[in-house]
């Protein structure tokens, strides 16, 4: 299986829209470092799972060959808007629709003009794939799918790409601790919402770097309950599934706040 890189990245638009703001520049710089690392691998396709693309019926896969537009985030519009252009590897995406069904998960492709593309996918693509060099396969986050379902989808997607002899980068998009600051702040003073959230994030990041999968399996349920990372931290389940349930260490490119919530750019060793 030719997975050449894997990244866990945040979906918040704030570092992209205001990279000059010091607390957010750490993430922006982390993303740029990840982009340089990704580029050296010369992949054929990026397999993306975004916690912000919500589905409730089937598992959804993007099938439109080229999607483009200008997106205005429903929360953070005051900081700017997000132009995007994204190419899709339709062959692999179609394979993932069929592959989902084969592993017992009902699935559909979506191919509609002006289908809403989520902020997280746009942010990750803009930072990591700024010249649109590589096509994506984008998987939705079905709210009713479990951690195990998401691992199965990640594993299946990697296998589908491998059968088509593609060199793959796996990307899971979502945040770390989920508590945001609920009053307006001076953004220059942004920080993680609580010491407890920060401690949790660092515990997880440490386990990533030590490749301690057993510890991660032990910690993740409590992490989800106490620190509330995006969508049950399923963006990591996607990566873990694609990597066959193993990680070999990680490099932390950037960690910091996004209006109180935790954001990290992590490159896993493969």
């Amino acid at each position: 299986m030719t997975i050449v890189a894997a990244f866990l990245v945040p979906g918040t638009p704030l570092p992209l829209l205001r990279p000059d703001n010091p607390p957010w520049s750490r993430i922006a710089n982390g993303y740029r470092a990840a982009a340089r690392a990704l580029a050296t691998q010369r992949p054929d396709v990026l397999l993306v799972y975004s916690t912000q693309w919500i589905a409730v019926l089937d598992e959804l896969w993007q099938l439109r060959p080229l999607i483009s537009g200008v997106h205005v985030d429903e929360n953070w519009y005051e900081y700017g808007e997000l132009a995007y252009e994204i190419r899709i590897d339709v062959e692999v995406a179609r394979g993932c629709v069929e592959g989902s069904k084969a592993v017992g998960i009902s699935a559909k492709g979506v191919d509609y003009d002006q289908f809403p593309i989520d902020t997280g996918t746009i942010v990750a693509n803009t930072f990591l794939n700024s010249h649109n060099q590589w096509p994506l396969v984008i998987a939705a986050n079905n709210l009713y799918h479990s951690w195990d379902d998401t691992m199965r989808l990640g594993e299946m997607a990697a296998r589908v790409a491998d059968k088509k002899s593609k060199k793959v980068v796996v990307i899971g998009i979502g945040g770390m601790s989920g508590s945001i600051l609920r009053k307006e702040i001076d953004i220059r003073g942004d920080s993680i919402a609580s010491a407890a959230d920060d401690a949790w994030n660092r515990r997880i990041l440490d386990a990533f770097q030590k490749a301690d999968v057993a510890r991660l399996k032990e910690l993740c349920p409590a992490y989800v309950k106490e620190a509330k990372p995006d969508m049950g931290f399923k963006h990591f389940a996607w990566i873990l599934g694609a990597l066959g349930g193993r990680i070999y260490g990680a490099r932390l490119h950037g960690y910091g706040p996004s209006y109180g919530s935790g954001a990290a750019v992590v490159e896993f060793k493969v």
Binding site: I54, E74, Y77, E81, Y144, I180, R182, E184
Partner: protein
Amino acid sequence: MAQGQILAGYLAPHPPHLVYGENPPQNEPRSQGGWEQLRWAYERARKTLDELKPDVLLVHSPHWMTQLGHHFLGVPRLKGKSVDPIFPNLFRYNFDLTVDVELAEACCKAAAERGLVAKMMRNPRFRVDYGTITTLHLMRPQWDIPVVGLSANNSPYYLSTKEGLEEMDLLGKATRAAIARTGRRAVLLASNTLSHLHFHQEPELPEDMSREHPVSAKGYQWDMRMIQLMRQGQTKKVFDLLPQFIEEAFAEVKSGAFTWMFAAMGYPEIPGEFYGYGTVIGTGNAVMEWNLAKHGLSMVEAPRTSPAAAAGPLAGAP
């Protein structure tokens, strides 16, 4: 003294299936019909709305969910294509709406005066959420009345239900004050479904009504209980039961529109006019109206002092 009117409030849920079933020219997909009883319920609501002749429609929608505060559409005109990300096969709707920006700004200011974080959305390229669009189409397909669109702050989900709905209560009171200050004749639309457990698969033909029914007996019984109380005008009892309804039936009123609307109306103990009920992929949906004008309760006056002034000069002092 500044005076406006809240002519009526409607419980006006937003399943896109109802637009799909109607086959209006703005919606791309074509159907063989479906969900007729709910669509006929909306026909009755459209008729009474037309008779009220409001200046503005205010709609609070769960599908513009915001984390930091309560947001208001703040651009005079918004136009675009709304594609439902869950049901893109049913709803791809070309919308073109006008916003009562002056009233939206008044609501925003009144909300801030009451201690809420409140923001105006000023980007003309903002894509209005499909919940807002669906409710507005179902109530007024002519699109000839300006609107105020409100986001649903996620406080009922992030904090406790009680704390979150307390914010929605404040937001409703702020809305009432803003309507009074601007002298508008307003109608309020709570874009909420009732019981919200749903099927996880769609039939091959979405409008196959042989596959449409409540998901659970419990959800259906809860819906009927709450509707009956509303029909009887037992508003206090409805709100006493709301937390349990939310917990046991996964009711979408948790997102706050229903509380916002009733707070703005002053929680009147008047019977709600019931127009119809039906399920959509198993969720329970009712169309109902509380006609304040008919009951002589529509006049709203602005408070004599702002909430901040009412708190006194030492408010907020250490």
